[in-house]
């Protein structure tokens, strides 16, 4: 398991060097989804052109794309941090849920506080709860060698059900019939960057974290040690790196970033926590981390791509009769092709 995780996070070289590696899964996914579109009687090229125009044609469309990319940058980052340490964390989705609920709770409970105190406090709550959510799988993986894939996957379902219980009972907005918390205080809302678009300060936080990640993974000793621990744990242990403790710390960091993703989604976009809070941001984050090959610029580009697909998918459904689900099909295909290796096909051809 860990060698696969490590291969998803190769050392960051100059991005263009592995451009082909990044583009191959994307092109294959576009081709496969194109077949689906063609069978359904649509012209795939027209649909893709429409998607491109709807996501990048005009300031407003670009703002919508950036807003949709914000949670994906963060979940992609959260996944990449764990992958880099060789921990195959598929539990970021759960962190988005618990982090989002924690931030929303602070946001509607401490309404007397000014924005300078309330926003950091709410995001801090998301960080703590998100990190805490990854404590058990991190400890189990590092100390007892329990398969983190299974534990984190199971924790996703626990998080979704647990938060659904909380917003249906103890935290349900008074007088509300649907499962949602009260709206957070106005002071807890993240400032909008380009009203009326939902693009908010959360995007800037995501970019800042992305820059930090780049600096951390390329310029710090801890980032270097993490990479070694991820690619070759035995060598890392032999060089005196405490691999188990590193894994725990990176799992906590991964959970913290996942929690921030939920907090920003709650404070910036939704304004409260509702059941079905995340439409699979954590799972898309896995696709983002894989497609971006664990590099900061790659994660940004992949998140922009999936953000663009989400926002344009919603609008082309209005203008044409192409169902928005083409976006999910593309997303799943990218995940599948991003981990497939096509090297052997070329190798065999060369031999023949």
């Amino acid at each position: 398991m860990s060698d696969h995780a490590a291969s998803a996070a190769p050392p960051t070289r100059f991005p263009w060097a592995n451009l082909a590696e990044i583009l191959t899964p994307l092109l294959l996914a576009l081709a496969a989804a194109g077949v689906v579109l063609a069978v359904a009687g649509h012209n795939p090229f027209e649909v893709y052109w429409l998607l491109a125009v709807e996501s990048f044609g005009g300031t407003r469309r670009i703002a919508a794309t950036l807003a949709a990319s914000t949670p994906l940058i963060l979940t992609g980052l959260a996944t990449a941090v764990a992958f880099r340490a060789g921990a195959f964390n598929v539990g970021v989705e759960g962190c988005v849920f618990v982090g989002g609920l924690a931030a929303a709770w602070v946001g509607f409970s401490f309404t007397g506080l000014p924005a300078v105190a309330l926003v950091p406090l709410a995001l801090a709550a998301a960080v703590v709860v998100g990190a805490f959510w990854m404590l058990v799988p991190g400890l189990l993986k590092a100390r007892l060698d329990v398969d983190e894939v299974v534990t984190t996957l199971m924790l996703n379902f626990i998080a979704i059900s647990l938060t659904a219980y909380l917003v249906n009972g103890p935290l349900l907005a008074p007088g509300s019939a649907n499962s949602a918390t009260p709206m957070v205080a106005e002071a807890a809302r993240l400032p909008k960057l380009m009203p009326p678009s939902t693009l908010n300060a959360g995007f800037l936080i995501a970019i800042a974290l992305l820059v930090l990640y780049w600096w951390w993974s390329n310029r710090t000793a801890l980032g270097f040690e993490t990479r070694i621990a991820g690619t070759n744990p035995r060598f890392a242990t032999a060089s005196g790196i405490d691999v188990p403790s590193l894994i725990i710390r990176m799992m906590l960091l991964s959970g913290a970033i996942g929690g921030v993703a939920g907090g920003i989604h709650a404070l910036g976009t939704v304004g409260r926590f509702v059941s079905g809070f995340s439409p699979g941001y954590g799972f898309t984050g896995i696709a983002v981390a894989l497609l971006g090959r664990g590099s900061a610029i790659g994660i940004l580009l992949a998140a922009l791509l999936f953000g663009a697909l989400t926002t344009s998918g919603a609008t082309i459904q209005l203008f044409s009769d192409v169902p928005i689900e083409i976006v999910n099909i593309l997303q799943g295909m990218v995940m599948i092709f991003a981990v497939a290796r096509f090297g052997w096909i070329f190798a065999r051809r060369r031999r023949a």
Partner: protein
């Protein structure tokens, strides 16, 4: 009341048991199948459409099994021949197939998420004379459909095949010692593909059970994560068919109980987390036991 819960528990066990047995064989042969849920969804949809179109539940079951098997084969080939990580491919299949199913529903039937067809051939239910009037036993044994019976008959059959037959030995070798298997002239990858096709087939049947056995319509959320519950069952059952079946029964009982308890003050959402919590607990306990035996040995 108790009879009702017992009957519902048996009904809710069947889909989990079918998929779990498939996933178990798959895992024994060396592939952890995260995509079971997607194959279940495909089976549920195909099963309903064929049951309405052909008017025969047996044809519908064959079609649903085929649909699951096709997705199983695609998934397996991606993992074994393109050396892709099974977890990511499984998650990718769940996302892509869910998208494909909704895309198909909108394109062909113009409906969003739900498909209600006339004249669906439902699974028949067998009432056993005398027993059906007994308390508890009647609910346990009578009034069930052929798929439920098949699922339970497959438990000893799977145990026997894995333990006593040449095929079972080869499957176990493909999972536990692929290099040894290759040295003996077997192809572990092909065996693994075959086991994934079997898992897809079983998950397809499980899906059809939900659509033409339990509800009679198709809904995009019809599996309700049962593919993952099945995963929990064979993890919890540690790849042993009888233990896995016992877990499936336990989860089926939770499911039935949770439906009963809705609106009675017991939070259904918390009951739903139980299977997943149990998996984490059992993995922890097992790891602790391994460590204890290791420290004792040295």
């Amino acid at each position: 009341m108790i009879d009702n819960i017992i009957h519902a528990a048996v009904v809710m066990t069947t889909p989990v048991l079918l998929a779990a047995l498939g996933g178990l064989v798959n895992r024994v042969a060396g592939l952890v199948n995260i995509g079971l849920d997607s194959m279940m969804l495909a089976g549920a949809l195909v099963g309903l459409i064929v049951a309405a179109g052909a008017g025969s539940w047996s044809v519908a079951l064959v079609a649903a099994a085929l649909a699951g098997a096709v997705f199983g084969l695609l998934m397996s080939l991606t993992v074994t021949r393109l050396d892709a990580n099974e977890i990511i491919v499984g998650l990718g299949f769940n996302i892509a197939v869910a998208g494909l199913v909704r895309f198909f529903l909108k394109t062909v039937y113009g409906s969003s998420g739900t498909l209600n067809l006339p004249d669906v051939a439902r699974l028949p239910r067998f009432d056993i004379p005398v027993i059906q009037d007994m308390p508890v036993l009647g609910a346990l044994l009578s009034g069930h459909d052929p798929l439920t019976w098949a699922a339970w008959l497959l438990v000893p059959l799977t145990a026997w095949v894995l333990k006593r037959t040449r095929l079972g030995l080869r499957l176990r070798a493909a999972g536990a010692a692929p290099q040894a298997a290759r040295a003996l002239g077997l192809s572990p990858l092909t065996l693994r593909d075959a086991s994934t096709v079997f898992a897809g087939l079983m998950a397809g049947l499980a899906g059809a059970y939900l659509s033409i056995g339990v509800v009679g319509i198709f809904n995009e959320g019809i599996t309700a994560g049962r593919g993952f519950i099945a995963l929990a069952a064979f993890y919890f059952g540690r790849n042993r068919p009888w233990l896995t079946a016992a877990c499936a029964l336990l989860f089926g009982f939770f499911d039935a109980l949770q439906i009963r308890l809705q609106g009675r003050g017991v939070p259904a959402e918390l009951v739903q987390t139980l299977p997943y919590v149990m998996v984490i607990v059992v993995l922890t306990v097992m790891a602790l036991a391994v460590r204890r035996s290791r420290t004792k040995g040295t």
